[in-house]
């Protein structure tokens, strides 16, 4: 994507403060209900087919008895040079004009190429048709397509909220304010470990926090340019 193209609109991004994350997984649940992420059941999870768009990885630090857990919320990193995008034969996975790593479910034919090529392993596949027992189907979010079997899915930064907020702002005639727009996970985080905003705006909360000396990106040396910045005091540790 050329520099000119980048200048146009907002570049949505997120800052995740690992030191503030308590591993409560409120974000996981919020994401599940916002985005119609199905529950696959115990048996399937045991087989490794868990469906979640955001999960909290736990790493143990130190030797017994001085053990502490470290929690890292992992979600789609919305890479600037995403490896998953190029390999999709039908553009189901592609870069949207505002830099989101978009996933178009109805276009997806289910080759699972993108899932192999994602170094963060955050893309999940619908192995079965999700079932919504009778009253539960009423809680589905009508703004999000319910995915059927054979489709890849992943975190979209709650693109439905972004688009609706953009539309509202346009009809209102005023631009979006920073912090007005929040994905479900950010909205539900009790410790405010997650911050969402526009990286293109130097005064936004994300831009300011991303300049912190604690800032680090996951697997940065792969050259994928992820758009999620993690804040971590001890930067030399395992993954990050």
């Amino acid at each position: 994507m050329s520099v000119k193209e980048k200048e146009k609109g907002p570049r949505w991004g997120m800052v995740a403060d690992v030191d503030r994350c308590t591993g409560c997984k409120a974000c996981v649940l919020a994401c599940r209900s916002e985005n119609n992420v199905p529950v696959v059941g115990e048996q399937e999870v045991n087989r490794g087919r868990i469906l979640d768009w955001i999960h909290v990885d736990r790493f143990w630090k130190g030797e017994y008895p001085d053990v502490t857990a470290e929690f890292i919320p992992m979600l789609c990193q919305h890479c600037e040079k995403a490896p998953c995008e190029s390999v999709c034969p039908v553009y189901a996975s592609h870069h949207s004009h505002d830099g989101l790593n978009a996933q178009i479910y109805n276009r997806c034919v289910g080759t699972r190429f993108c899932a192999n090529n994602c170094p963060y392993h955050v893309r999940v596949f619908n192995f079965f048709s999700p079932r919504w027992p009778q009253p539960l189907e009423q809680q589905l979010n009508p703004d999000v397509t319910a995915r059927d079997t054979g489709v890849m899915e992943k975190c979209t930064f709650c693109v439905q909220r972004i688009r609706r907020a953009e539309l509202d702002a346009r009809l209102r005639g005023k631009p979006l304010r920073d912090g007005e727009l929040r994905p479900a996970c950010v909205q539900s985080c009790p410790t405010s470990a997650l911050v969402f905003g526009d990286f293109h705006d130097p005064h936004s909360a994300v831009s300011k926090t991303a300049r912190s000396p604690r800032a680090v990106r996951v697997l940065e040396d792969l050259g994928t340019e992820p758009r999620i910045v993690y804040l971590k005091a001890d930067r030399r540790k395992e993954i990050i």
């Binding site: 399937e44 045991n46 087989r47 490794g48 087919r49 868990i50 999960h55 990885d57 992992m74 490896p83 190029s86 390999v87 999709c88 034969p89 039908v90 553009y91 592609h94 276009r107 997806c108 034919v109 289910g110 080759t111 699972r112 190429f113 899932a115 192999n116 090529n117 170094p119 963060y120 392993h121 999940v124 596949f125 619908n126 192995f127 079965f128 048709s129 079997t149 054979g150 489709v151 890849m152 996951v218 697997l219 792969l222 395992e238 993954i239």
Partner: protein, 459 residues
């Protein structure tokens, strides 16, 4: 020993080749085998439909392993399909006279294995009904497929290769269909009339068919190289440590030719036993093709080593983890060393002896061994690439193919066999005109009391 054309008149060649087509009705055992094969195919089709309605959950695929035995079998079949191009194109270009007994055998292998291979991407898809999204045609959605995806390259390469090899097979089949047409009865007559396209066998037509065959050979050879390179790029373009390797292109290509030649040996031997081409398929053919086989085996071993050495030498952690997983972890180490035995140790040891190369039964067993080894190689590459432990992936289980997957894979094996059996009943499996031409072009000269056979150049 120089090559000598079979000691038969054109009429005798014709009769011997046409025995499979015009000969007696197949025996009960053959019919029974066909019925069993058809049943396996139908079961596979049923399982495929079940899979596409229920979802890919019926397979054994789990989270880090998104590509399973379907892709492994796809790569294997593509590899076997390279037999046709190798024998017909390379040998035709180099003017190897002994090729004429083998060309069509090899081309027909391509004819059936390539569709078997091409079906796997669709079987593997989550939503196979939407495969037309991959076809670049002007549509009412105004959106095109992504030409940056290796799968699109695959789509182009495989369809080019399939069209090319079918046309190649067809062009070289036309003269034989024309020659055999007057003797045909019933549905075969109709078929031959339509397919032979009014072939008469005049000198003009012969000139053109040879020209077309020469052009096809030159055009299809680079296509064939590109096909398996592109298939290897499916893996090599990815950020998976075991797959992201620059040597994968030639490595896959040589491996493909290796398994292709092995498949030719298997089919050749079966034809020799079952159809009685005793005079047309001789130990000399085994010897000649065996030399090619040996060379390919050595080349494969070299590239295999080349894939492994840089990672080992530089202690690249990702690569080393992958190789350690391959060679020493429980479920895969057995397969790995079996592959090493059947693909490298046994062929290299045996094929360097002429006596071994010329004997039918050992070569048959060896060819099957190499094909099993090559299949295992594909399986290891596909499975282990993503299965190997990665801290970001949530590995829970080891991927094991489910019954559905195995029955669909078995269905393609049965389908290829069945297709080949039916083809033999319908069309001449050896090229009559090429055999006859070899015979005509052969000249005998006595030098120092010994008969020397040589061939006037074709063109």
């Amino acid at each position: 020993m120089s090559f000598k054309a079979p000691d038969l008149s054109i009429k005798q060649i014709y009769d011997e080749v046409m025995t499979t087509v015009l000969g007696p009705r197949p025996k009960m055992a053959t019919l029974l085998l066909m019925i069993i094969l058809a049943a396996i195919v139908l079961h596979g089709v049923f399982q495929f439909f079940r899979q596409s309605f229920v979802g890919l959950g019926v397979t054994g695929l789990t989270m880090p392993v998104y590509w399973g035995i379907y892709i492994a079998t796809f790569v294997f079949w593509i590899g076997v399909a390279h037999a046709g191009a190798l024998i017909s194109a390379i040998l035709r270009i180099t003017g190897a006279e002994w090729k004429s007994s083998i060309t069509r055998i090899a081309e027909v292998i391509t004819l059936f294995t390539l569709p078997a291979a091409a079906s796997f991407p669709f079987i593997h898809m989550g939503r196979p009904g939407l495969f037309y999204y991959l076809i670049p045609y002007p549509n009412n959605r105004l959106i095109w497929p992504n030409f940056k995806s290796p799968l699109m390259w695959d789509f182009f390469a495989i369809s080019t290769y399939f069209i090319g090899s079918v046309l190649f097979l067809y062009v070289t089949l036309i003269p034989d269909l024309g020659t055999a047409r007057p003797n045909m009865k019933g549905w075969r007559k109709t078929l031959y009339t339509i397919l032979s396209f009014g072939w008469r066998g005049t000198a003009e037509e012969w000139k053109r068919v040879k020209e077309a065959a020469a052009l096809f050979s030159v055009l299809i050879l680079p296509v064939v190289i590109s096909v398996h390179t592109i298939v290897s790029w499916d893996f090599a373009m990815q950020l998976v440590p075991g797959w992201h390797s620059e040597v994968f292109g030639p490595y896959f290509f040589v491996g493909a030719l290796y398994s292709g030649v092995a498949a030719v040996f298997t089919v050749m031997t079966l034809l020799k036993w079952r159809c009685g081409f005793k005079d047309l398929i001789t130990p000399i053919h085994y010897d000649m093709l065996g030399r090619v086989f040996l060379a390919l085996g050595l080349a494969w071993a070299y590239l295999f080593f080349n894939d492994f050495l840089p990672g080992y030498y530089s202690n690249e952690p990702d690569k080393m983890a992958y190789f350690r997983y391959l060679a020493f972890s429980h479920p895969y180490s057995v397969l790995f060393w079996l592959m090493f035995l059947t693909n490298f140790v046994l062929p290299i040891a045996c094929l360097s002896f002429k006596g071994f190369r010329m004997s039918t039964v050992p070569m048959f067993l060896l060819s099957i061994g190499v094909n099993v080894g090559m299949y295992i190689e594909r399986v290891l590459i596909v499975f282990c690439g993503t299965q190997v432990y990665n801290p970001l992936a949530r590995n829970v289980t080891v991927y094991v193919p489910s019954f559905t997957e195995i029955s669909i894979v078995a269905a393609t094996f049965a389908g290829v066999t069945l297709g080949y059996m039916l083809f033999i009943r319908a069309f001449p499996i050896l090229p009559i005109w090429e055999l006859a031409e070899t015979k005509i072009r052969q000249t005998v000269r006595e030098i120092a009391g010994k008969k020397v056979y040589y061939f006037k150049s074709g063109e």
